[in-house]
């Protein structure tokens, strides 16, 4: 009997790549896509890497495809924006070895800066999109994506969402197909996209998509279930399961291919049901096309464009059920926070003391925007901290940014921050950039990057030294400092912000969640010394609370002994001691 295993959606995607005979995988970590690469790396048959950003990852996969092997890139939805430049053009080039991009959307914004729908990008780029609904389909659809990629000479997007990527369900495992490499032949009309060649390829792309619109009607990944034809649903992805939960007797057309839409299949289904609903999370991508064909359907009139869907949404909107739900308890929110011992907290506490604003970036440190730190004023996208600070300086002058810094993590700096810093140098900018170097890509769950000295496999790599890199692009003021030395940090911030030059301050201390980190010390209140001033509580370390009498208490199990509270205490009421000793 074939082995059956319960798998995370992302684990199943990785398995699909393995079984499809993929030889090269490239990615940049980003929730909810990260675990794809973390699982691919377990298959020794696949070369897998973390690239510094999604554009690079996409191009690595394209190169592998052109050379004749099956290749995959994976990223979160906003990563697709970074990769969109190669994506739009590789749509013209097509694929030699199968080429698949796994794009992970985040309806409900569990860990993202926007709620964009990758299907919109795919429509614009003229790239086919397959959409699985559970782990088994995630694996199967990835394999099918490689088949049609090669058959139709096209990159294929497999679109997942947070709910699918981070849900587990059973998967039947199969053997890996050893695909023979496709021969490489020089073909500049196909592979060199300059105007004369691209004109021809654009015609090819249009024909390809037209063909897929027809052939897609027969793809086995679509599922038509005719039951009661009074109500029919057109849907795709995870939404299918909400319909099955609520309307098990309704007719359903579950699309496996959502771009281009299999038009004849949809028209036939629509003609057989009395009332047609289109049930799709986020943008009305299916709905607007179907309606443009003159088909009557109900979609975003009753279903939202925001957030995740649910069975209860259907119960309310379609069945008009009064659900008699217990109201939510009114309780204080529990947003994520920086960990005890996080070096970002230390740096932010100094910036806050000096009343400095920060142009922020994407990482755990984005939490520096909220109480009690309140340091970060802006967050746009990966790498934007440095360039937005530069924009402010050019708009309002050098004095305006004397109480501003840009803050960016080591991985985000390697991703796209370096480009923004080059721009500051080139355009005679001034300003202070703080690189919060915690030696890891922390927020997504601790992935290595070009500056950490380790590959995705954990092998030793030549670490790119951030300070040397900054000096190499002609920045004179490059300072490396311990992130927990708050006295020196304060002095350096004051000194560098006073200059009318570019300064890069690299605050260094590893993330406390890096595997294998040891914390021999803990902080302890010294009995009778606490004056209840609350200074130590200000940076919001979760290990610190107040006793009923107002004195400080430190949770030993949470404390990592960073000593920030000890440094902040003016009354020497906190000591750092060896863990386990009184």
């Amino acid at each position: 009997m074939a082995e059956k295993k319960i798998m995370l959606g992302n684990e199943a995607i990785a398995r699909g790549a393995y079984e499809a005979g993929v030889k090269v995988s490239a990615a940049y970590p980003g929730t909810p896509s990260t675990e794809i690469s973390e699982n691919i790396v377990k298959y020794k048959e696949i070369y897998a890497e973390w690239s510094p950003n999604e554009k690079v990852a996409m191009e690595v996969a394209i190169g592998a495809s052109i050379s004749g092997v099956r290749a995959m890139a994976s990223m979160k939805h906003v990563g697709v924006n970074v990769a969109s430049d190669p994506l739009y053009t590789v749509s013209y080039i097509g694929a030699n070895g199968g080429l698949v991009l796994v794009a992970a959307d985040d309806p409900g914004l569990y860990s993202s800066q926007n709620e964009q729908d990758t299907r919109c990008v795919a429509r614009a780029a003229l790239v086919p999109v397959l959409e699985p609904s559970d782990s088994q389909e995630a694996k199967d659809f990835v394999k099918f994506a490689f088949e049609i990629s090669e058959k139709y000479d096209t990159p294929v997007i497999v679109r997942t969402t947070t709910r699918l990527s981070h849900s587990q369900s059973p998967v039947i495992l199969e053997e890996r197909i050893e695909v023979e490499d496709k021969p490489y032949e020089r073909n500049i009309r196909k592979n060199v996209m300059m105007p004369g060649n691209a004109i021809g390829r654009h015609i090819f792309v249009e024909n390809r998509m037209n063909q897929l619109e027809v052939d897609g009607c027969k793809f086995p990944i679509n599922k038509v279930e005719y039951k009661d034809t009074k109500i029919g649903f057109i849907t795709a992805g995870i939404e299918y399961h909400y319909i099955k939960e609520v309307c098990p007797d309704a007719s359903i057309l579950k699309l496996g291919i959502v771009n281009p839409l299999p038009r004849k299949l949809i028209e036939e289904f629509a003609s057989k049901v009395d009332k047609l609903y289109i049930f799709e999370e986020l943008e009305p991508v299916i709905e607007e096309q179907v309606k443009s064909w003159g088909i009557k359907a109900i979609g975003k009139e009753i279903f939202t464009r925001q957030g995740e869907y649910s069975a209860n949404l259907l119960r309310k909107a379609v069945l008009k059920q009064d659900l008699d739900l217990t109201p939510k308890a009114q309780v204080p929110a529990r947003p994520p926070i920086l960990c005890p011992g996080c070096p970002h907290r230390s740096v932010f506490s100094v910036l806050k003391k000096l009343k400095i604003h920060a142009a922020g970036d994407i990482g755990c440190y984005t939490l520096g925007a909220v109480a009690p730190l309140d340091v970060i004023d802006t967050t746009v996208c990966m790498g934007a901290s440095i360039s937005t600070l530069h924009g402010m300086e050019k708009a309002k002058g050098k004095d305006y940014i004397k109480n501003w810094v840009a803050v960016i993590g080591d991985s985000t700096f390697m991703h796209t921050g370096i480009n923004s810093l080059m721009n500051m140098v080139y355009n005679n900018g001034t300003g202070t950039v703080v690189i919060l170097d915690n030696s890891i890509t922390a927020m997504t769950g601790h992935q290595d990057n070009a500056s950490t000295g380790k590959t995705l496999q954990g092998d030793v790599a030549d670490a790119i030294d951030i300070a040397t890199l900054c000096r190499a692009i002609n920045i004179k003021n490059v300072i490396e400092i311990d992130a927990f030395d708050i006295v020196e940090l304060e002095r350096i911030f004051k000194e560098e912000l006073a200059k009318e030059e570019i300064s890069v301050i690299i605050t260094k201390s590893p993330c406390v969640l890096i595997k294998g980190m040891k914390f021999p010390n803990i902080c302890k209140p010294i009995s009778g010394k606490c004056k209840k001033c609350g200074m130590c509580l200000k940076p919001g370390c979760p290990a610190l609370t107040k006793n009923e009498d107002g004195t400080i208490a430190i949770d030993e199990t949470m404390c990592n002994g960073c000593g920030l509270c000890k440094q902040l205490c003016k009354f020497d009421a906190i000591e750092c001691v060896e863990r386990g000793k009184n």
Binding site: I6, S111, R163, Q168, Y242, N312, V331, P372
Partner: protein, 192 residues
């Protein structure tokens, strides 16, 4: 069998993922159709986290919806209250009697609600345990979540052997014995 809906809630870092994987393992081993839904990424940094486990003959959606949960396993009091409206009218709550103040309370913006467990008892069947203290007595404070799971296991239809077997396969090898002990502590507890 009718689909059974379990929720595991807590504060990021308390081990909801490990617990859901144990549940995923035991339900799969028993031959059920299973779906689990987890939270990864930023919310795990000390935020409120929720994991759904659904098992039965055939499971469609991977999430438990409001008003549908049979058992709510909560690793912290406030989180039990936050998600209590997900329970069915006759639902069961197994709660670790522990307070972790959220940052919104630490900064003074809100107060941590008082008498949470008493309030929940008015509406639901509540089994509260100070699992942290029990776990410390056992010699490893991290096993508190397995003690809580042990109590919740009293409300599910799997044998003690099956639980111990899956725990052995799921937790880190060095901690198998202590986790089995922790599980039995909860599983055999009869007074609350």
């Amino acid at each position: 069998m009718k689909t059974k809906n379990i929720m595991i809630v807590g504060v990021g870092g308390q081990g909801t993922l490990l617990t859901s994987r144990i549940l995923g393992g035991i339900t799969t081993d028993a031959g059920y159709d299973v779906k689990l839904s987890e939270v990864h990424g930023m919310a795990q940094r000390g935020g409120s986290v929720v994991t759904f486990v659904r098992y039965g003959d055939f499971v469609s959606e991977p999430i438990v919806e409001e008003g549908q949960a049979d058992v709510l396993i909560a690793f912290e009091r406030l989180e039990a209250l936050r998600y209590s409206h997900f329970l069915k009218k006759d639902g069961v709550i197994v709660v670790n009697d522990l307070c972790i103040e959220p940052i919104t309370v630490v900064t003074g913006a809100f107060e941590y609600p008082k008498n949470i467990i008493e309030g929940l008892k008015e509406k639901y069947k509540v089994y509260a345990v100070d699992a942290m203290t029990e776990a410390k007595k056992l010699g490893n404070s991290k096993t508190f979540n397995i003690i809580v799971l042990g109590i919740a296991a009293q409300h599910m239809d799997f044998s003690q052997e099956a639980w111990l077997d899956v725990i052995g396969k799921t937790v880190p090898p060095k901690t198998v014995d202590i986790n089995k002990k922790a599980f039995l502590l909860g599983y055999n507890r009869r007074s609350y």
